[in-house]
Amino acid sequence: MSALAWQIAQILLVAVLAPLATGYVRFVKARLNGRRGAPPWQPYRDLLRLLKKEAIVAPSASWLFRAAPYVTFAAVWLAACVVPTFTTAIALAPSADLIALVALLGLARFWTALAGMDVGTAFGGIGSSREMLIASLAEPAMLMMTFSLSLVAGTTQPAQIAAFILGGDIGVEVSLGLALAALVMVAIAENGRIPIDNPATHLELTMVHEAMVLEYSGRHLAMMEAAAMLRLTLFMALISCLFFPWGMALPGDGPAAVAVGLAAFLAKVAALATALAVFETMIAKMRVFRYADFLGGALLLGLLATIFLYVSEAV
């Protein structure tokens, strides 16, 4: 029964936390750039404002255009619900594993990309097309990472992997490091961060995610934005769950351990967000057609992570 309670708590937590995490990243970046920046809770205000605004829909748009924000948001939300954050004892844990997670993100992307094409503008098409290219390499990279983790831990369930790593008899593995690197690269790409995409850009020819949602406004845009924020949080949760699960509560743990887990999770998110901000500040955006190299690299790292397992086994 507690699993259900924790699950509900997580559902609410990720939804509430997501804008804050994004706001925090922006905040740190602004500070690093020497600006004052908006406060970290600014995204809440933005979203609320958008919700209150009238939504504008082009005449050429179909029902899909209006449904996509909700579907996208729900898919990402669902994905974020199944990644253990503060405890592995959540009710949905056995219902979706890492593969399903990748696919849920794919579902969100599928709808967003379609929505980008629905109005029939050039920019929407550009965004969708590039997004799908990125995904076509990012997804395999993430699956390869899953593969290596499943070889280490014997499972694809994030909760089980976290438990396995917490179990401790693992030591430092080269392949885990490679897998982490792959996941980070994928995370950067999937969230449209520099060097793949610039979330703040409005220079048309360089944007990817923003181009897809270009035609959205009002509550639709709010949903899309919220989904993006949620996705960022999701990846942070994923990285911390799979590679830094320390502090996370396990099934059977009491509320005290869960409280510790929650604190640890918030700390991890803060740390990752800071790291992201620092990284983005230091690096420049890539040309569109170098994405393939970047993500191909991620895919290769994922593959290497798997193969290194045998190397270390053989040694």
């Binding site: 029902w63 056995p94 696919a103 920019f123 699956l143 390869m144 994405y291 593959l303």
Partner: protein
């Protein structure tokens, strides 16, 4: 009875179609009859799948000393189900679709025959009847491809198709010959009993792979598929792509898992690599296509690759002494076969609906159809999502199962497998991701955006009749059902694979019915049912929240498009432009894709052109060179037609003298 009677009814229908070809209502009768027969066969298959041992029947024709053997076991029953789901849907669809064809009289007689051929392959229990049905299936579908015979490209497609089909038969035929041995007992029972010499065993697998692979469309034997499948009328394309390729896989499974005794793990590796390459190449081709049906055909190639990865994995596990994992991989492959038949039929029928409404099948001529064809658009979306392996639809479940079993691959003791499996896994993942790109492109360009031509703008929603809509909706519902509640089907599948792997695999036993947990609950589990429920819940929650917190006001106004919005629909992204990043990233190496801009001199008012050149490595490297070789040799040999009588006499004389010398030499020895 449930199987024999409808099977025999199909040729009768064909005869009726010939006799009543002038009657306007004849097609409705034929397709209606085909529908009933398919439903009966489907019921028969499901019934058999429900339980009981195999039923066998021997009839006094076929090879005289052998007679014709028929048998329905679980594997046949499963494929009967696969075939006849699509067949029933296609028949219903065809009632409304048929009149849109240029010459329906060239379709109705062969459609039931095609169904007959496919079903007969599944129930055949000796090599002769198997091959007769197999060829019959090819033959009838060849005629269906040729129904639009006045177009030269159709004839070329048909030509390549049947030649490849016969090539396949000539591979399977010797494989059966080897399995039967010199004694010539061609019943499958005798083959199961037989021990093969190592060389023969090797050859059998190779030939089976070539024979069934060419029919299924494995790279590099796939070349006919994207030519022939699109050339046929859409309801036939649906069957060819969705179902006939499955019949080919049935043949492969029947030989590799049932008739053949022991197969080395190396063949599993070969199958996996071939499958992986097929999957990636297939989808890469698909993502570049402009013709909707060609795109779908190439996507079939991809999916066959995916299934074959599963089969290869199962072989490797079986040989490696891991029957439980072999069963899992086989279940995964079979489930994907089933799923693909459902959503590929759906997509092809959708393409048919688009064609009947617009008369176009080129992506460049479509656009904005979702508004004009809501039924087709919605169901096609389901199909596109399913084929892109998105949860909670069926395509995802089978890909998930395949990945799960793939992740267990490194438990095999062979180093080649340990290193190879991750690579295949990467190929599979790449294919899946590209498939999503491919179908976002296809759906986005055809159904979304603004109409690119008048034909698309004036798409006639009434052309998609009730029957067509029903058939599309039924298949779409099936996609959802097979995705959301996969357990009933996977349990049936584990019954199917039990005799083939010798072990039962309780795909969902550990956690209860909503979850699939193929290799134990701690190894990975998935629940489509719960995800659907949760997804709907969260979606509803989001909608509720938004509407509570925000306004519901909505205004229809011009598109923003960064201020560049223009009325000309040509400013939209096209299929070609959508594919450009993919073409640059992958096509440059695989297809040697080159882009060049042809910019006229200043003062020249010719339009600038952007030219893309691509080379199909398989077609050019293999088929064209083979064609050239045949041409060259034919030219050389043809000289013998124009010699003088004296030279012909010389040939005769030389033959005589050579044989005399041979005899002289052999007598001395």
């Amino acid at each position: 009875m449930l199987i024999a009677a409808p099977l025999l009814a199909l040729p009768v229908l064909a005869l009726f179609a010939v006799l009543a070809r002038r009657a306007a209502w004849s097609h409705a009768v034929v397709y209606g009859g085909a529908f009933l027969a398919a439903v009966a066969l489907l019921a028969g298959g499901l019934d058999r799948l429900g339980g009981g041992g195999p039923t066998a029947l021997t009839l006094p024709f076929g090879l005289p000393w052998l007679h014709a053997h028929f048998r329905v076991d679980n594997l046949s029953a499963l494929f009967l189900v696969i075939v006849n789901i699509a067949a029933a849907a296609a028949s219903v669809f065809a009632v409304g679709y048929g009149p849109h064809l240029p010459d329906q009289r060239r379709v109705t007689p062969f459609f039931p025959l095609f169904l007959f051929g496919m079903n007969a392959v599944l129930v055949a229990d000796d090599a002769f009847m198997f091959l007769v049905s197999w060829e019959f299936m090819s033959l009838s579908s060849w005629l269906l491809v040729l129904s639009d015979h006045t177009r030269p490209e159709t004839r070329k497609a048909a030509m390549v198709y049947l030649t490849m089909a016969v090539f396949g038969t000539f591979c399977l035929l010797p494989a059966f010959g080897l399995l039967a041995g010199a004694g010539g007992d061609f019943t499958f029972d005798a083959m199961r009993m037989k021990e093969l010499a190592p060389a023969s065993a090797f050859l059998v697998v190779l030939l089976a792979l070539l024979g069934a692979g060419s029919k299924a469309g494995l790279v590099p034997l796939h070349a006919w598929l994207p030519l022939a499948h699109p050339a046929a009328p859409s309801h036939v394309s649906a069957l060819m792509s969705g179902v006939m390729t499955k019949v080919a896989l049935y043949g492969l499974i029947r030989i590799l898992f049932d008739l053949h005794g022991e197969i080395g793990w190396q063949w599993g590796a070969v199958l996996m690599v071939v499958g992986g390459v097929t999957a990636v190449l297939g989808v890469l081709y698909a993502v570049m296509q402009d013709d909707l049906k060609v795109l779908l055909a190439y996507s079939t190639v991809e999916n066959i690759g995916v299934v074959v990865i599963g089969l290869g994995l199962a072989l490797a596990f079986k040989a490696g002494g891991e029957p439980a994992l072999a069963a899992l991989a086989l279940v995964a492959g079979l489930y994907h076969a089933l799923n693909h038949s459902v959503f590929k039929s759906l997509l092809f029928l959708g393409a048919g609906a688009v064609m009947s409404a617009t008369g176009e099948r080129s992506l460049g001529a479509l656009g904005g159809l979702l508004k004009r064809l809501p039924w087709t658009g919605a169901t096609f979306l389901v199909g596109a999502a399913a084929i892109s392996a998105l949860p909670p639809l069926n395509g995802f479940v089978s890909e998930w199962l395949i990945l799960q079993s793939l992740f267990k691959g490194p438990t095999l003791p062979h180093w080649a497998m340990k290193f190879g499996v991750p690579v295949v896994g990467a190929l599979l993942a790449l294919a899946a991701a590209l498939a999503a790109a491919c179908f976002v492109r296809a759906y986005g360009v055809a159904f979304l955006g603004r109409p690119r031509t008048a034909a698309a703008a004036e798409a006639d929603g009434n052309a998609v009749t009730l029957g067509m809509r029903l058939s599309l909706a039924a298949l779409a519902a099936l996609c959802v059902w097979l995705g959301a509640a996969p357990v009933t089907m996977t349990n049936a599948l584990s019954e199917v694979v039990r005799p083939l792997t010798g072990i039962e695999v309780p795909v969902s036993a550990d956690l209860g019915w909503p979850w699939l947990s193929p290799a134990g609950p701690s190894s990975g589990s998935y629940s489509g049912t719960i995800l659907v429920a949760m997804g709907l819940l969260l979606c509803g929650l989001a909608v509720m929240l938004v509407h509570r917190l925000g306004t519901r006001a909505l205004r229809v106004s011009d598109a923003w498009d960064c201020g560049h919005a223009e009325d000309i629909p040509q400013t939209q992204y096209t299929g070609h432009s959508f594919a450009q990043p993919m073409r640059r990233a992958f096509g440059a190496t695989v297809f040697r894709a080159r882009e060049s801009v042809d910019m006229p001199e200043p003062g020249d008012d010719a339009p600038a052109r952007h030219v893309v050149s691509m080379i199909d490595p398989v077609w050019d490297g293999l088929y064209r060179s083979l064609g050239r070789l045949v041409d060259f040799l034919a030219d050389q040999v043809n000289r013998m037609q124009f010699l003088t009588v004296r030279r012909y006499l010389l040939m005769m004389f030389a033959t005589l003298v050579i044989w005399l010398l041979v005899v002289a030499v052999r007598q001395q020895l």
